[in-house]
């Protein structure tokens, strides 16, 4: 990746974070930590890797992303708005009564959202179904899915992990947002998931482990996964930090955050200051 491309994607991730903060702060609160932790993954997917057409969001030609950790809707909405799936003004309406932008991913209301998620563990099964149908139908698309590390405490995740391997879904790329925290605190203190890479390896998947805030590493891992058509589904375990990008967040306590105007201003200032320079 050349440095210009890297800076572009890093800036896109910061744009996404600013829009996340914008949506939540204008509302007063939101699921901040787990939205911020996947900003680079989403930036690389919508900024570089995925094929899509905002004018025709259901096109057969498109790649598909399902965010199974449904509370990270605002992160996807930021990218979708910036890419023209819907007018930017819709970001002002997050979770207002009667909104077309409910904060948990909603395919019936938000153009570009492929699956309604929010009850954890379920989006990944739908992603497996989409990957399988696409493969059987000869559609060359890639299906991407993001799950949380806390989310993978759900048994359904591991049903789908078995299924994807058995069905040889090498058109499926799964990201684990390994941010080490969940609503009640640190994952290791609540229900420790141990080593994700070992686990997926034991289930027969093609595995990679990267820094989930490094856009270059994400792109390299995705490109490698896309190129590997040996019948194995792909998991990219992304080491991330819950609440990454702003200084006030603590991973164990930033799942849901209340905003004040001062806090919002501080976050925006920090994000602007973090922009990369050539």
């Amino acid at each position: 990746m050349n440095s210009e491309e890297k800076i572009r994607l890093q800036n896109f991730a910061i744009d996404i974070r600013e829009k996340i903060i914008y949506q939540m702060s204008s509302l007063g609160s939101g699921h901040l930590g787990g939205n911020l932790s996947i900003a680079e993954i989403v930036a690389v997917l919508y900024g570089s890797e995925m094929k899509y057409d905002p004018a025709d969001p259901k096109s057969d030609e498109r790649d598909i992303l399902i965010c199974s950790k449904g509370h990270a809707g605002p992160c996807l909405y930021s990218a979708l708005a910036m890419k023209g799936f819907f007018p930017m003004e819709r970001l002002d309406t997050l979770n207002r009564g009667g909104t077309e932008l409910p904060s948990h991913c909603d395919r019936l209301h938000v153009p570009g959202i492929e699956m309604t998620t929010g009850s954890l563990g379920q989006g990944f099964s739908a992603a497996c179904g989409m990957a399988l149908a696409s493969k059987l139908d000869g559609n060359p698309r890639t299906v991407y899915c993001i799950i949380g590390d806390g989310e993978s405490q759900e048994g359904q995740i591991w049903e789908a992990v078995l299924f994807a391997k058995h069905q040889q879904l090498d058109n499926l790329i799964l990201f684990v947002d390994y941010n080490k925290a969940q609503l009640d605190g640190l994952t290791k203190d609540i229900c420790d998931m141990g080593d994700y890479v070992d686990k997926f390896h034991a289930f027969g998947w093609h595995t990679a482990e990267i820094d989930g805030h490094d856009v270059e590493a994400i792109k390299t891992a995705v490109d490698a996964a896309k190129a590997d058509k040996t019948g194995l589904p792909h998991v990219i375990v992304c080491n991330t930090i819950k609440g990454y990008g702003v200084s006030f967040t603590k991973p164990e306590s930033c799942h849901h955050v209340n905003f004040t105007p001062e806090l919002t201003e501080q976050c925006m200032r920090e994000l602007e200051a973090s922009r990369p320079t050539a």
Partner: protein, 329 residues
Amino acid sequence: MSYKILANKTTADETMTSVYVKCLKALMAENPAITQIESDLGNSLLGAAAIKEIKAEFPKQFVDCGIQEANMIGVACGMSLVGRIPFAHSFAAFVSRRATDQAFISGAYAGSNVRIVGTDPGVSAQLNGGTHMPFEDVAIFRAFPNMTIVEPSDPVMLEDLMGKLSANYGMYYLRLFRKNALKIYEEGSTFEIGKANVLREGSDLTIITAGAVMIPEVLKAADELAAEGIEARILDMFTIKPIDEEAILAAAAETGAIVTAENHNVINGIGSAVTDVLMTKGDRFVPVEMIGVRDRFGQVGPLAYLKEAYNLTAADIKEAAKKAVARKR
């Protein structure tokens, strides 16, 4: 909708599952989107021979997930959202209880397009007993917005419904008896989802029922009542949701007494659905007696034993009918 009731009703030669297989294969041949999804109960619905044939003829239209009902429903929903028309099957007990939230969120709430097929409704689970005996599957799915619930009465209706379920978009629950059902309808009859069928005319009361387990008992009860001078109308309420309100209100107005008869808990099944309509939309007092499982768990036993154990027999229905008529004001 154009159905005719057979004057002479006999048990069908073919099982409901063999009709299901025949229809499924025809639909698969017509439309490559039709997909059967199993969770390791393919042999019980389709049979090993049919699975082998389907895998050979339609290899891209059959998926066996293994024993994972929750994932199966999620996979079915995902497949449906990229153009497949899935029929996802398990025993009614499992596909309702074990995958409730998947059917609710990934299915109904997300606007997916899946036919959930639940076999062995109620006491028809027989020797598999209480663990496999669903008296609450309708209750669960009835509480889902956008869920259509159908329980075909006989092979002719099943054949017609298979075509309709394949052609329509939405979330469906097909509550399916597997064995040989009493043949009620003439070959070629067609049905309208949401419209009850009149199996028998009568002016003294109406018995509202559904499904291959209860209909024979209801018909027998009606014959016996007629011998005693009580004429019962029978409504085949094969669409349990959305229920045919018009037919219920007309029955109340024209016959003045109602008996509901269901192979399910009386809580949130046909009995509840009918009384919901009568209490909120009716314009008069109408006595209702409910035949159904009285908030109990399942148990092992042959069908005849279980019908008696849960008071689902013609004799029970007859007694309820007399009570309802006696309570008329």
